[in-house]
Symmetry: C2
Subunit: 363 residues, 2 copies
């Protein structure tokens, strides 16, 4: 990911539709907006505000993240393409009303081909500021029609994905009596644990932050705690749910993992390409990360129609069916589920965008 020398945008993003460098010396704004695909509709993705070491690092990150958004939105059945933006700088010192508004004017200049949202380093209040210059903003504060905390439906979607995996692994969606290990009990992990306890599962958790663990235990005393992700993975689990940083599924973890299912909220769980094959060889059913963690995207995307929690929750519930479809395609095409998910996403992008080739009167 790190690129200390400048990069060739066309080489690094050979399938990206458009990459926009937005500059405003007056406010210090340096942003890169990447539109990977608008095959299914306008590109949606958050704005990451981060002190990248170089423009090249920022470009590499935004190209990679925007591509992921295309696949996530496509598989979630949304009429949205994939995009992402990065603002180069330390949000604690560089963020200002003028800078965010300058950024908003640049997003506005793209005429709705890119919708922004929160990401690392930006929050709903920032989105409200950006929206003062721009019509294409989601992740707003609740007072401005925002969907609020997106961890609620992210966790709900992961829970649905896990039930789908249980259906394939054990013949039914029930998690009752199953031992589920949750690594990371921040906001999403905490909500997930609640769903699991309500479903009658036996839950074991771990987190580098003792306060997060304490919060879960005070609400749900039956939950067991172990001291590390290593200890969690080494113990006897039916399901492993990585809900912290990316790269949780390393060679070492997959080798010792006793779980029949991996299904969690973290992004980019596979530490490197090829891990999906190792998982399969060990008989572990992997529910692809971007398939099951799309609830948050579904939630902010719902703002575009005027947020309805019920409608968004219905859509997040459909992650159950989508995950089943991924497993079915994996079985029928003889590929790991991670590959099957990509194929389903690519198929939807290809087939739906092809339909635009048919001329119809303007709707």
């Amino acid at each position: 990911m790190s690129a200390s020398h400048p990069v060739d945008v066309f080489d690094l993003g050979p399938e990206h539709e458009q990459v926009v460098f937005a500059n405003d010396p007056g406010t210090g704004l340096k942003a890169v907006i990447a539109i990977h695909s608008t095959a299914l509709g306008p590109a949606l993705g958050g704005t990451r505000f981060h002190p990248y070491a170089s423009t090249a690092d920022a470009v590499a990150d935004v190209l990679n993240l925007s591509r992921g958004m295309s696949y996530k939105a496509a598989l979630a059945g949304l009429d949205l393409g994939g995009g992402k933006a990065v603002i180069i700088g330390d949000p604690r010192t560089a963020k200002s009303e003028p800078l965010l508004r300058a950024y908003g004017r640049h997003v506005q200049s793209l005429g709705g081909r890119y919708y922004t949202a929160c990401d690392v380093g930006t929050n709903s209040s920032d989105m409200d500021v950006i929206a003062r210059e721009c019509s294409y903003v989601t992740g707003r504060t609740v007072a401005h029609g925002g969907a609020g905390d997106s961890s609620v439906l992210t966790a709900y979607g992961v829970f649905q994905g896990m039930r789908a995996a249980a259906t394939v692994a054990w013949g039914g969606p029930s998690l009752e009596g199953r031992t589920v290990g949750v690594a990371g009990v921040g906001k999403v992990g905490h909500h997930l644990v609640r769903h699991l306890v309500e479903a009658g599962a036996s839950v074991v958790v771990t987190d580098v932050d003792p306060a997060a663990v304490e919060l879960v235990r005070s609400e749900l005393p039956a939950v067991r705690v172990v001291e590390s992700a290593e200890a969690l993975v080494a113990g006897g689990l039916d399901v492993y749910a990585p809900c912290a940083l990316g790269g949780a599924l390393t060679d070492e973890v997959v080798e010792v993992l006793s779980a029949r299912i991996v299904c969690g909220a973290a992004n980019n769980q596979l530490a490197h390409p090829g891990i999906e094959k190792m998982l399969e060889e060990r008989g572990i059913l992997y529910a692809p990360d971007y398939c099951v963690n799309a609830g948050g995207l579904i939630q902010v995307a719902d703002e575009l129609e005027g947020f309805s929690f019920e409608r968004a929750q219905q859509r997040a519930a459909a992650i159950f069916d989508t995950t089943l479809m991924v497993f079915e395609l994996a079985a029928s095409e003889g590929v790991p589920p991670a590959i099957a998910a990509d194929r389903l996403a690519e198929r939807r992008m290809r087939e739906v965008s092809r339909l635009r080739g048919m001329w119809v009167p303007t709707r």
Copy 2:
């Protein structure tokens, strides 16, 4: 200009507003659209179609050219900013209807912040194709409201700039009896020679293309011909008009030049920064290239209002006044005219864009 390694867009274009990488693998389109400034209005500039050796070369060229367009439009008094685009590829083999239309969709996606036009490697017919996907196209064919051959008003504007220089050098605008050397008698140079002959000047020409010289001689037999630009410069001239490639004013040329005035149609006449001072030290009055050659831009820009040759010609005639203003500012601020032109352009961009800070009801 050449950059074999990838370049950092923010480093190379620290004052550019927006740089857009447009990619379409299906048609092979790789384009870079640079918007240097919209301080005075939407950015206008041609699309160059050229087989750049690298993306970095293309980026360096488009950043440089778009900056030049901001200054040219500002000094010409137009309500337009500066932009430019490059398409990477050999126009003889890579140009196709789908590729041009894919490019048109990208230009359309910018919502009118960038207007395109012809440049090296593209022509009016190409603009018609681009316009089938895009509302922001000038330089169209005459059948589609285009202004036609822009060399007419380019030459007219250079002639007006030369008359302004004569006013400063000799107390009046007349060029009667003056010896004017025109290097390069392609379309613009040819029109310029006609204006000069009609004004009673004694004209000497040269061109690497014998056919171009013959065309001038057959229409205007009184014109003298010399065999090279070196011979032209070495001879006795009152005015030297570079109308061919850029970089005509090298150290060597300036050292031997006998002319009192330099005023021509070529772009980027100064071979390197500092030449403007050498010219001044030798007592040569230099009419800045982008000030006097703005007639072509004025002509295509007029298409935006529905082309009127009379109105465009009136605006090109005003190059006389603008050139005088440049010389006056140069005298009052004690700087060479090239520097004075930049200052006038920057002043207009700054002052007019500041006015947008005053809120008014939408017009």
